[in-house]
């Protein structure tokens, strides 16, 4: 109990002293998670709409893969990305400048995108499938093109869409295994809140670890609150 109180005090001290090391870790955490969530949305939302609204050969297989991806252990994805990007891996051998390198934020973003996009796709698929087929028929009867119909259904499923983003965000903001493997927890380069917590715990600096944990929780809470606020607005709209 004493540790937790000390952790809380330390968290407040770190926040209000505008500790530059903490600011660096927090901003990198938000950057990696934010960009990964953006990429996950760009891949996951169209994929979810495709699976939810259309019928094509192999759809069931793709759905099974998405569901599997939703429950895939992040550390295994980390290992997969590590092997892919390592010097002897299939992508590590290529000399393409735009490819992410191991132990960089780009590699962490790649791993987190692979973790989050099936979550976004799965929740989006369920959200669009929950729209009454009779409404879909009405939209077509009013003269919508397939693209217009998909956009309208996505707009009608906007509450579910926000849930999909919240779930995607939740799956990566607190993720540690994959970012540790592909990022390496290098100070000033790839250290994020979760990997810093692991490091401080190993060092026995529990109050600092708890402080970082409280900050992580606070950030996750604020991000979810913001998305819920957005959801509330869509309900009122």
């Amino acid at each position: 109990m004493n540790l937790i109180i000390r952790g809380l005090m330390e968290a407040l001290r770190l926040i209000f002293s505008f500790d530059p090391a903490l600011a660096e870790i927090v901003s990198l955490s938000l950057y990696v998670t934010g960009v990964a969530l953006l990429f996950s949305a760009l891949i996951g939302i169209p994929l979810g709409v495709l699976l939810g609204l259309t019928r094509f050969p192999g759809r069931r297989l793709l759905m099974a893969l998405v569901y599997t991806g939703m429950g895939f252990p992040p550390v295994v994805i980390g290992l997969f990305v590590y092997l892919l990007l390592s010097r002897s891996g299939p992508l590590g051998q290529l000399d393409w400048s735009w490819l992410p390198r191991l132990f960089t934020p780009s590699a962490m973003i790649l791993a987190q995108t692979i973790i989050a996009f099936p979550v976004v796709a799965g929740f989006t698929m369920v959200a669009v499938m929950s729209i009454d087929p009779a409404l879909r028929q009405q939209i077509s009867a009013l003269g919508a093109t397939p693209w217009q119909a998909a956009a309208t259904i996505l707009s009608e499923a906007r509450m579910g869409l926000i849930v999909s983003l919240i779930a995607g965000f939740g799956s990566i903001i607190s993720e540690v295994g994959a970012v540790m493997l592909v990022g390496g927890n290098i100070e000033h380069r790839t250290r994020v809140l979760t990997t810093a917590i692991v490091l401080e715990t190993r060092k026995g600096a529990f109050d600092l670890a708890i402080a970082l944990g409280i900050i992580l929780l606070g950030l996750a809470f604020l991000a979810n609150l913001a998305m819920l606020r957005l959801q509330g607005k869509t309900v009122d709209a």
Partner: protein
């Protein structure tokens, strides 16, 4: 005589192994009001979906505006947009009443439809509710919004799939008056599916009886109700048909 707007020739629609529609020949003329009557499961709603190009025929052809469409053909968008449907259960978007009426116009890229939308809202008596969320409306109000949304498009053909089922007499009267005005002022062709024979008699110039997917009788309203040729149509009119 005017060329028919729709011509259905040897048209079938099959779901799995079940043939739900088998029309040898049926013409619908521009500007007329046709009522499609028949027992549940006769294929009336399927016929409307085919007329709105929401699904293709399994075999045969559907001619619309001098263009023929078979099972593999996709009608061009501009032709498809000349037809719209108001379904039995009003399907509104989770937006305001105004935004719902604007929706079809938006799809067509029309940005200056404000006056038209307001006229339609006045037409169905809902101008005071324009900013209200559509999902808070009563069943009758929601159906009037669905009708206003369809009428705002000024379609050549308005398909009505039991639009007044389960509505109170006041809403029924409002909807009937609105579609009649649309027919009179814009010569919009109306195809009305109804279980209400009184409504068919009030609104339609011609009545088509469907039974097990087949056209049993197609006659002008007076003949259909007073001297139908087919004994099954006569039994249907007398309310003696058990189904």
């Amino acid at each position: 005589m005017t060329a028919p707007l729709y011509h259905l020739g040897n048209l079938t629609r099959v779901y799995g192994v079940r043939c739900v529609l088998e029309v040898d020949a049926l013409d619908i003329y521009p500007g007329e009001v046709v009522a499609i009557v028949g027992p549940s499961g006769a294929g009336k709603s399927t016929l409307l979906r085919l007329l709105n190009f929401l699904e293709p025929p399994t075999s045969g052809t559907l001619r619309f505006c001098e263009q023929e469409f078979g099972p593999q053909d996709t009608p061009p968008l501009d032709l498809r947009r000349r037809v719209t449907t108001v379904f039995q259960r009003p399907q509104l978007l989770n937006r305001s009443v105004y935004a719902n009426v604007r929706y079809g116009l938006q799809l067509r890229g029309e940005r200056n439809g404000r006056a038209q939308i307001e006229t339609m809202l006045r037409e169905v008596g809902l101008e005071a509710l324009a900013e209200q969320p559509a999902r808070t409306l009563s069943g009758g109000e929601a159906q009037r919004v669905a009708l206003a949304r369809a009428m705002a498009l000024q379609p050549d053909v308005l398909l009505l799939d039991e639009p007044t089922a389960n509505l109170d007499p006041c809403n029924v009267g409002l909807i009937e008056a609105s579609v009649q005005r649309l027919n009179h002022t814009h010569h919009t062709t109306l195809v009305l599916v109804t279980h209400n024979l009184f409504q068919a008699r009030r609104l339609a110039q011609r009545v088509v009886l469907l039974l097990e997917g087949r056209v049993i009788e197609a006659a002008d309203t007076e003949t259909f109700f007073t001297a139908p040729r087919d004994p099954r149509a006569a039994a249907f009119v007398r309310g003696e048909m058990i189904y």
